[in-house]
């Protein structure tokens, strides 16, 4: 039978418009806040595709499973293998999911126009695997459930499994589902592969158990052992991978820098921002020298958006479409600790953050208006007062308050206006 004939009667005909509409709805809420890197676009597309196609394909699978059961294909003494019958039944649904995902990628591509790079194939492959697994689960359930029960059960049940864990305080569960809510990745981060592997393991085991459940023969004890054992295997392998992970499945990025030299200093930006390398260098290198002088430390030999040691190399972060003040502010705050120390409730070191940021930004050359917008008038006032002192006094003030940010036993000094 020609493929178009088979596809005509498939649940995919109904599934495609529904899942495409839902996918575009999910994506349209997030596409505007995409980071300027293809990984974040890929994760957004994969998450949206899983959330849209998982439930719809599961429900469509349940319909197809019920259709084959009602058609008596189970006992038809077929020559074709069960795997071939299953594949032929689910092919139109999975093609529909793929088409929807490609549509999502096209939408993301428009938003990412001009950004170098490509979608991450591994992230997309795992998303497809998750969709295949839920389609198979629906198909297996459809063998035994009336469509009036199986279709809504798979539609709602799958959606709950995919969407609900993201709302739980128990973080590891969300990393098993495949729906990452677009939580990854900022430009200076990459996907935590542990989450991808865990999702793949869960999906493969679910697909395997579903296939065994659908294709088992009467009294096949080995099949029942597999059906019961595969979910346990999934948890045994996937849980250790993700149990220590936080809410976001991302880790710091270590590769993908584009570098150039300016006035003896190497300047590196993420390759997605390579076009801005020249202008960034013209701003960042003199600013780094001013900061080195102002803080009483040697000038760095490298200024980078990537990993830095804080001595020879300084780190800065400039958001997508950064303006000069953004670069200066990124460089200035890059000298401050990224995380506060773990102290008791009486710790007051955080009070130093605003004035230090303002003083560093002004030292780097940022305009007062820009600094006030970011730190507020109080911090700007404190920073301006310090700037009126001799350089050595400013260095002392900076070092003392930097210690206050790093240690629990040091209190901030002169961070408020009298």
């Amino acid at each position: 039978m020609p493929i178009r004939r088979w596809a005509r009667s498939s649940a995919a005909v109904l599934a495609l418009p529904v899942l495409t509409a839902y996918l575009f709805f999910v994506m349209s809420r997030s596409v505007d806040v995409l980071e300027d890197n293809w990984l974040s676009a890929t994760v957004l597309v994969s998450s949206a595709a899983v959330l849209a196609a998982g439930p719809v394909c599961g429900a469509a699978g349940a319909w197809e499973g019920a259709r084959l059961a009602r058609g008596g294909v189970d006992g038809a003494a077929a020559v074709r293998s069960r795997a071939a019958i299953l594949a032929w039944s689910l092919l139109p649904i999975l093609v529909a999911a793929l088409v929807a995902m490609l549509g999502g990628l096209a939408l993301a591509g428009v938003a990412m126009a001009g950004v170098p790079g490509l979608p991450d194939p591994l992230v997309l492959a795992v998303a497809l695997l998750v969709i295949v697994a839920w389609t198979l689960a629906g198909f297996a359930a459809g063998r035994h459930l009336h469509p009036l029960v199986g279709v809504p059960l798979l539609l709602v049940g799958t959606w709950l499994w995919l969407a609900y864990p993201a709302a739980l305080e128990t973080f590891w569960v969300r990393h098993l589902t495949g729906d990452n809510l677009g939580f990854c990745c900022e430009t200076d981060a990459v996907y935590d592969q542990r989450a991808l592997y865990a999702q793949a393991v869960v999906a493969v085991c679910l697909a395997g158990a579903a296939y065994l459940f659908w294709s088992r023969r009467r009294g096949a004890r080995l099949a029942w052992a597999g059906i019961a054992g595969l979910p346990l295997l999934a948890m045994a392998v996937a849980f250790p991978l993700v149990r220590d992970m936080g809410p976001e499945a991302q880790v710091p990025r270590t590769s993908g820098l584009a570098c150039g030299r300016s006035d003896g200093v190497e300047v590196c930006v993420w390759r997605e921002r390579e076009k801005q390398l020249g202008t960034t260098a013209l701003i960042a290198v003199p600013a780094a020298r001013r900061l080195a002088t102002g803080t009483g430390q040697p000038a760095p030999r490298r200024v980078t958006e990537g990993p830095a040691d804080g001595a020879d190399s300084w780190r800065f972060a400039a958001p997508p479409g950064a303006r000069p003040d953004d670069v200066l502010f990124g460089l200035a705050t890059g000298l401050l600790p990224a995380e506060p120390p773990v102290c008791g409730p009486g710790w007051s070191g955080a009070d130093a953050y605003g004035p230090l940021s303002a003083w560093l930004a002004l030292t780097a050359g940022a305009g007062q208006d820009a600094v006030e917008r970011r730190t507020g008038p109080e911090s700007l006032g404190a920073a301006r007062r310090v700037l009126g002192r001799p350089p050595a006094a400013q260095v002392r003030w900076f070092r003392h308050n930097l210690d206050a940010l790093r240690r629990c036993d040091v209190s901030p000094s002169e961070v408020t206006l009298p």
Partner: protein, 240 residues
């Protein structure tokens, strides 16, 4: 012998045995399988189709045992089976249904599609090829089922109650089709329709509870009729 049952045992559930030890050779040609309700006619055809697996013993066609490693696909490709209830896949037309059955039987999609129309024409359903199965009458649906067994040119055709529930006109039409099928291969028909057995079939198998009561030429059944052995077979008029 085209189909041979040797020491076959089969039970649907624990404690519910249909056959404990069945030995039967079904000769080539057109064979009618008759017997009272519940004697195992459908089970016998299911075993012959390899849709059911015997608990003991073996079924074979020309020496080919379907449940020996590597034989199942080859065996099933040789056998066409129309079960009692024709259950079309929702949404398919008659031709799509027959084409899908051909694909299930191992044909390529293109071959199955081409042959599906020929099979429908053979059962006089050509004009309704593009009608959805859900819109067909019971008799037409049975003919779709028959076309499904013919689409892949099976050497052995097994039909389970093909005329049950049909009106006299459709029965007559069906008998004509069945007779034509029998001319080109081996045919086993489980039936309660015992009218004109001698005209339609070459041989007959009479099943009783857990045993074969008669297997041989249709003419030999007359003696059994005289002994009252055919009592309890619905519709059996006592004439052969």
């Amino acid at each position: 012998m085209p189909i041979s049952f040797q020491g076959c045992a089969f039970g649907h559930r624990r404690g519910s045995r249909v056959f404990t030890r069945l030995d039967l050779d079904v000769p080539a040609g057109r064979t009618a399988l008759i017997g009272p309700n519940g004697c195992g006619k459908s089970t016998l055809l299911g075993l012959a189709a390899s849709a059911l697996r015997p608990g003991a013993g073996r079924v074979s066609y020309e020496g080919l045992d379907p449940f020996r490693r590597g034989n199942l696909a080859r065996y099933r490709a040789l056998v066409g089976w129309m079960p009692q209830g024709i259950r079309p896949l929702p949404g398919l037309t008659a031709r799509e249904q027959v084409g899908y059955a051909g694909w299930l039987k191992g044909m390529s999609r293109a071959d199955a599609w081409r042959r599906s129309l020929e099979a429908l024409e053979a059962v006089e359903l050509g004009p309704l090829a593009d009608t959805r199965c859900s819109e067909l009458s019971g008799g037409q649906l049975r003919r779709v089922g028959l076309a499904q067994t013919l689409v892949h040119d099976a050497e052995v055709v097994l039909l389970d109650e093909p005329t049950a529930g049909l009106d006299p006109e459709q029965r007559e039409k069906f008998r004509g089709i069945v007779a034509r099928i029998g001319e080109r291969g081996h045919l086993i028909v489980a039936t309660h329709d015992t009218a004109d057995l001698a005209r339609t079939y070459d041989s007959v198998v009479l099943l009783g509870r857990d045993r074969v009561r008669y297997a041989g030429p249709v003419a030999g059944l007359g003696a059994l009729a005289g002994l009252g052995a055919l009592a309890g077979i619905p519709g059996f008029a006592g004439e052969v």
